[in-house]
Amino acid sequence: MLTSLLDPLPLAAASSELLPAREQMALTLGFHIIFASLGIAFPAYMLIANYRGLRRNDPDALELARRWSKVAAVTFAVGAVTGTVISFEFGLLWPEFTARFGDVFGVAFAIEGIFFFLEAIFIGIYLFGWKRLSPWAHFWSGVPIVICGVGGALSVLAVNSWMNQPQGFTLSRGLLRGAEVTSVDPLKVIFNPALAYEAPHMILAGYMLTGFLIASVYAVGMLRGRRDRRHRLGLLIPLTVALVATPVQFLVGDTAARSVAADQPVKFAAMECVQETHTHVTEYLGGRCTEEGVKGGIGIPNLDSWLVGFSADTEVVGLDSVPPEDRPPANTLLHLAFDAMVGICCALLALGAWFAFVWWRRRDIPRTKWFLRAVAISGVAVGVAIECGWIVTEVGRQPWIVYEVMRTEEAVTGASGIWFTLAGVVVLYAGLGTATVLVLRSMARRWREAGDAAEESGGPYEPPAPVATGGER
């Protein structure tokens, strides 16, 4: 029975695996992107606290750095595992994509491999170093982690931006297997035009997510009455960095949107639900995207044209510029995801302005509980914004896996049974996500209960705890 279940389907039906394959990729990447973001930025926050602790002889800051390094190790391990799954999926789900273009984008991943390897090694060294290196040598052993985090992100984003703006290769049209790559210029592949805005956008997003997420944990603690100095510091360090990153992100995002309008006009049309190419285009906030345009949103006349070209006379390319089969699916989803991302960024800008004003007047965080409540939800809000941005980039690129070069349906595996692996992945990742959250919460609880006496090891990359099993009453 199993055999008949797994038999290769006839060619015509082969694309029935396209939907589950896309869902599985979406799920695993959507999960990984959160941990990848933490992997990019967490070490930086940890080192900022470490630096402050050493410079100002501040034991609270050092304790924060020590705890954050343990949290970073857990999230890094989860990120490493889910990243490995992605590299399997390049072949398991999209073998035609990798078979045809692996030699084009592969070099970027090879470079990423170096960064990843070094990152893993230096996380191990840093965690070891708490007890075994001199304080400043230990601090410096953490610096490569930060550099490798950014370098690794750049390499992965080089591949993603290349999929959006493919260049640096030539294809010969063969008869049998479609096409074959005949030459590659890896530098042009890596430094494609979309990298210039995708990379800063994503790296800033990583710093924002991590900063707001750490701050939100301490905000919750303060709301529950734990208003000691360590909580204040744990809130202030990440919040300040993240709030500085927010306006920069706003500008980068704005540039990115304008570049998408120029480079991938159909993606932009889907984001804004522009059906026909015209000038004086209305910008809609929210609403449903239909063939007659946006229904139920708030329209601001001419604004879309203004945003694209700083003039109401700017022509915005519509979805009608390409045949229906070349348009992205799920336009309402794209439109709402884009609006949600921009909306969250605006709300965080306001939060930053509030904080900056009060700090300027009183050198203190706003006293009202509403500020802490806002910070408490900011971390999750950035997570939502990252997912939205990623939906815009990836779903907006459809039906292409390599923009205007290869369709996603051409890339999908001929294997069958993806619905089963998708179901497995749903269960597995639900468990993994739940376990991660529970473990991080229990670590926080144990630190709280143990106070300054908290001395434990046994986390990932660390020398193991003296007792490997059981033990707790």
Binding site: T84, G91, A415
Partner: protein, 350 residues
């Protein structure tokens, strides 16, 4: 030697490192699983955790290395393998996720019971991944993976005697390597376990040899190309592997030091024997290294990136291993003993 051959050699180097380090790592998980209950079981698991802890991730990055080199330099082979062998490779990935999760949580979970569960998960996944990885290698070696998108049989390509025996060989070799390493590490951290691991190394070593003999018979009938290679061009390497294996067993038997070198040697020579036996094919008799090779610019870049990696990664790795080893030296042996009576597993198998 062509550029493609050079990159293939780099690929095989990655496979070698993965086979040795991850193999031993998986094997350590096997001994964790087989540790049994009671105080001794807990002590064995502590010794295993102590040996793996800091180097776990580094050991597994080699797999990423192999995957990336394969899809960058030999993308056609990558697509063919990943699509035809969708089922076993999905199970390999499952094992990697479970192992990673177990690794991340077994020292951090709140309650002892959950730590124990994470530990069991880690150990169970240590069997899953190498076994199915072995079936994949068996499928490739026996020529059951044709080029193209899922052109081979989704089930019989890896559900066949050659694949299964290769999976068993991977398990046995990993367990053998791990026991040799653990016996070595135990000299300093848990001397009372030296004999325990030495006995297991002997059994696993003998089992690996026996499985290898069975495998040779099966390969003769079902994977003739590789078999001819193993008994032809690669014969010196096969003999070297055999001698290394015997030497390691003899050293273990006599309780002498230095069994690690020949034990690793036996695995390394076997990996290269397989490579030489397959040469010039990546997928025996359907896809050669030259046919699968990427354009020359990419191949050159892969070699350059590899050289940079060697320059940057090796010293860092050395630093990490040094720190890890220094810890072994400094820590007092009794630190490894479970405190009180709470160390024993409450339920085996979670």
């Amino acid at each position: 030697m062509s550029t493609a051959d050079a990159v293939a050699a780099v690929l095989w180097l990655g496979v070698t490192f993965y086979a040795v380090f991850a193999g031993a790592d998986f094997g350590a998980g096997f001994w964790d699983l087989a540790s049994g209950g009671g105080e001794r079981g807990a002590r064995v698991r502590a010794a295993v955790a102590h040996s793996i802890g800091p180097v776990w991730e580094a050991n597994h990055v080699w797999l990423i290395f192999v995957l990336v080199v394969l899809w960058t330099a030999f993308s056609a082979a990558f697509g063919a393998i990943m699509s035809t062998l969708f089922v076993p490779l999905s199970l390999v990935a499952l094992g990697i996720v479970l192992r990673g999760a177990g690794f991340a949580f077994k020292g951090t979970a709140a309650r002892g019971r959950n730590r124990h569960l994470a530990d069991r998960l880690f150990a169970f996944a240590s069997l899953l991944t190498p076994f199915f990885m072995g079936t994949v290698i068996g499928a490739v070696a026996s020529g059951r993976v044709p080029p193209g998108n899922a052109e081979g049989d989704p089930l019989t390509s890896w559900l066949n005697p050659v694949s299964l025996v290769t999976g068993a060989l991977f398990l046995a070799t990993g367990a053998y390597l791990a026991a040799v390493f653990l016996a070595h590490d135990a000299r300093r951290s848990a001397p009372e376990l030296v004999g325990y691991f030495r006995a297991r190394a002997l059994v696993a070593g003998a089992a690996s040899g026996a499985v290898a003999v069975v495998a040779m018979f099966l390969y003769r009938d079902d994977a003739p190309y590789v078999y001819e290679g193993l008994t032809g061009d690669a014969l010196p390497l096969v003999i070297a592997s055999l001698l290394c294996g015997i030497a390691a067993l003899a050293l273990l038997w006599r309780g002498a030091r230095g069994a690690r070198v020949p034990a690793v040697g036996a695995v390394v020579t076997m990996v290269w024997a397989w490579g030489v036996a397959q040469h010039p094919y990546l997928l025996p008799q359907t896809l050669t290294i030259e046919e699968a090779a990427a354009v020359s610019t990419t191949l050159t870049w892969v070699l350059v990136v590899f050289a940079v990696a060697v320059v940057l990664v090796l010293p860092s790795l050395f630093l990490l291993f040094t720190l890890a080893q220094r810890d072994l030296v400094e820590e007092r042996p009794e630190a490894l003993l479970p405190e009180g009576g709470g160390g024993g597993p409450r339920r085996v198998g979670g």
